[in-house]
Amino acid sequence: MRIFRTLLLSACAAGLLAGCGGSGTSGGSVNSSSTRGTLIQNPPLRTASVTATDFTAQLNATSAGPGLLQVAGAPTCGIDFHYIQYATVGGAGEATTATGVLMVPTAPANASPATLAQCTGPRPIVLYAHGTSTVKTFNLAAISDQTNDANGESALIATMFAAQGYILVAPNYAGYDASTLPYHPYLNADQQSKDMIDALTAARSALGHVFASGTTDNHKLFITGYSQGGYVAMATQQALENLGQPVTAAAPMSGPYATEAFGDAMLLGSVDIGSTVFIPMITTSYQNSYGGIYNSTSDIYESAYATGIDSLLPNTSPLATLFTQGKLPQLALFNSTTPTPGSGTTPSTGNTTLDAELTSVLALPSNPLFQSGFGSNNLLKNSVRIAYGADALVNQDQAIFTSAGAPLANGAIFTQVGAPLATSTTYPLRTKLQLNDMRYKRYSSSTTGFVPQHPTLLCGGANDPTVFFSVNAGTMKAYWAPMLLPNGLVTVLDLETGLGNGDPFTLAEGGFAQTIAGIKTQAVAAGATDGGVSAATQAYHDTVAPFCTAAARGFFSQF
């Protein structure tokens, strides 16, 4: 008997001991330093690896893929997608983490010398900033997951850049995916530029340690991004240039660069498509970054939405669900009964002339697009429009007022040379929009707002109903006009009109025009009676993206 017991005991003991130890925690090394730009997991997880042939086949199997391939060209390189996690900061400077993607071009060892040269060895880096997403799980590294909100944009930049031999780095932004930040510092120039720079630092430290270890940084850096990311790209270019770090060229696309002018246009009544998302994203960001936007969400939001709106976006549920659940109105940013300060129960500003001006300026706009932003069950209180509007009328942003001081209608800008910011502001939200406007003197080492030091292409479409081209790219162009920048340093490309003689972007412009025409034709065929205008308007902002991105790649290829 004894021998059995001994054997059994020793077997169990061996099992117990082994059970207590032996299980590792990672695979690779983990660096939990909070130093900005620290790559937390090195090497970073490869979420997908595709050959050029397989990637082409996969794209062709999706609905948007064939069109994308037509614009971007057939992939030359395979792509390894890596999920990077890195240390960065939040909007208030607090330490946090964020995630993103590193796309490394690859080629099989037996590829042609030309392919090997284009897809391996020292390659340029494109640092890309993505557009607005309301979905918390947004992850550009999840290329194989077509249900991820980032999937389309990830496929676009992979096809456009990585498949053509650019190393691509793109953060998901703090506040998304597995980031530990409980909010997203939306349109916070300082934080978002740091997030980009930290993603770049982390990605650079991964190169050489990934499967495609032979693909390395050739020290050319291109910065681009779309929509929110257009703004972030510009802020990043400014931050890197201010730090004296090398930037080869930049191409911000369709971004809200002039946040003060854009905010003024919107609050005065030029309501853009998507405003019921943009406004909560901005107020939540600035409240968390700076405080003082409101004491309580009910100060600015109607009671139907005030509760929980400060933690609503980004959300794990898709936007359509949030609309259905009544957490956000789909279109009605403002009440269709516009305010009349000093009349009835609406308090006066204390200045009857201003009251009258506000009543007129805040009235229902004539443009049907902007009108659709007015309704019942609206998001923002009229009191916000009065307070913001009073500040905007008294302290005018010169980009959106005529020389006579009247506000321009329909989101237009006054092409006054210099387009200066308001000299002062009083309303907290407007103060922070000014602080983040690209015309704002952000760095003490500079005497101006952002002025590019390296070749820059601003691309967009003049009829963009989501991010107004004139108020943003137009304002920046007007801001730079008196500075007599070196010839060719800045190109502002409107896909609608092109650049005229010698325009190198005619293919992108032609493709864009053709696509918009196709959308209209399709809508008419499906029964639209407006010539397809409404369908084209709804699709406009997203339709610009691939063509401006193609223009950006063409622009970068010169350097």
Binding site: M1, I3, F4, L7, L8, A11, C12, A14, G15, A18, G19, G22, S23, G24, T25, S26, G27, G28, V30, I40, Q41, P43, P44, L45, R46, T47, A48, S49, V50, T51, D54, G78, Y83, Q85, T99, N139, A141, A142, S144, D145, Q146, T147, D177, A178, F211
Partner: protein, 235 residues
């Protein structure tokens, strides 16, 4: 995960040994040496990961285990003319885990690739009932018992790392499960006996593959079947 209540079975075994042990005669110890020929009918759930490690729909990351042969060693206590207690073990075999399911994961080859290797410490304690009279040359027997398996030296291969997306740790939980055997013995002479048997053992392990910090999990039922050919010496 389902857990197996082997404790009552174990207690019953000990009790049984206690009851019959007093009846033992001379030559009640035996050592057996032979060969384990093991094949696995491994069944696993498709691996599941979350977040960046999520396995996209359309992909099936499953696995199989290659057959192995190893040395069989056992100590047997003859408890009574009809009951033996057998503690069997093998020289821990190194097994290859092979990808099964999607041919590729992205463009990375998967099915048919050896993705991981592991070694097993897998002793089994059996109570065998031997039929026929002790004087018979041939005696069929059947047994029931309990197996304990500990996996060690778990390692991902280069192919496994490529599928996983980075350096990969393989963790396999210990298993305790039932084992059953049927066999026949042939007494060559007084102290020497030859054995042939077939055993089925339930081995279930929770597997976790951690690639570059990202965890993917599955549960594997290894279900080994083992043919054992051995010779025993009684003393």
């Amino acid at each position: 995960m389902k857990t197996y209540t082997t404790t009552p079975l174990f207690a019953a075994l000990i009790l049984l040994v206690g009851l019959i042990d007093s009846a033992h005669a001379d030559n009640d110890n035996e050592l057996r040496l032979g060969a384990y020929l093991i094949h696995y009918n491994a069944q696993a759930q498709d691996a599941v990961g979350t977040g960046a490690a999520a396995v996209p729909s359309g992909y099936h990351l499953n696995l199989s285990v290659d057959n192995v042969q190893t040395l069989y060693l056992a100590y047997v206590r003859h408890l009574s003319p009809h009951f033996d207690l057998e503690l069997a073990a093998g020289i821990p075999p190194k097994t290859n885990t092979v990808g099964k399911g999607s041919p590729t994961f992205g463009s990375v080859p998967f099915a048919g690739q050896t993705i991981a290797t592991t070694r097993w410490f897998s002793p089994t304690l059996l109570v065998n009932y031997k039929f026929l009279d002790p004087s018979s040359a041939f005696r069929p027997y059947m047994g029931l018992g309990v197996n304990y398996t500990h996996f060690y030296n778990n390692a991902s291969t280069a192919a496994g790392d490529a599928v996983g997306g980075g350096p990969t740790l393989v963790n396999l939980s210990d298993s305790v499960g039932a084992s059953g055997t049927i066999g026949i013995s042939y007494r060559v002479k007084k102290d020497w006996t030859l054995y042939g048997s077939y055993s089925q053992t339930h081995i279930r392990s929770a597997a976790e593959l951690i690639s570059a910090g990202a965890s993917r999990k599955t549960t594997i039922d290894f279900q080994p079947g083992a043919v054992v050919l051995s010779a025993g010496y009684s003393f």
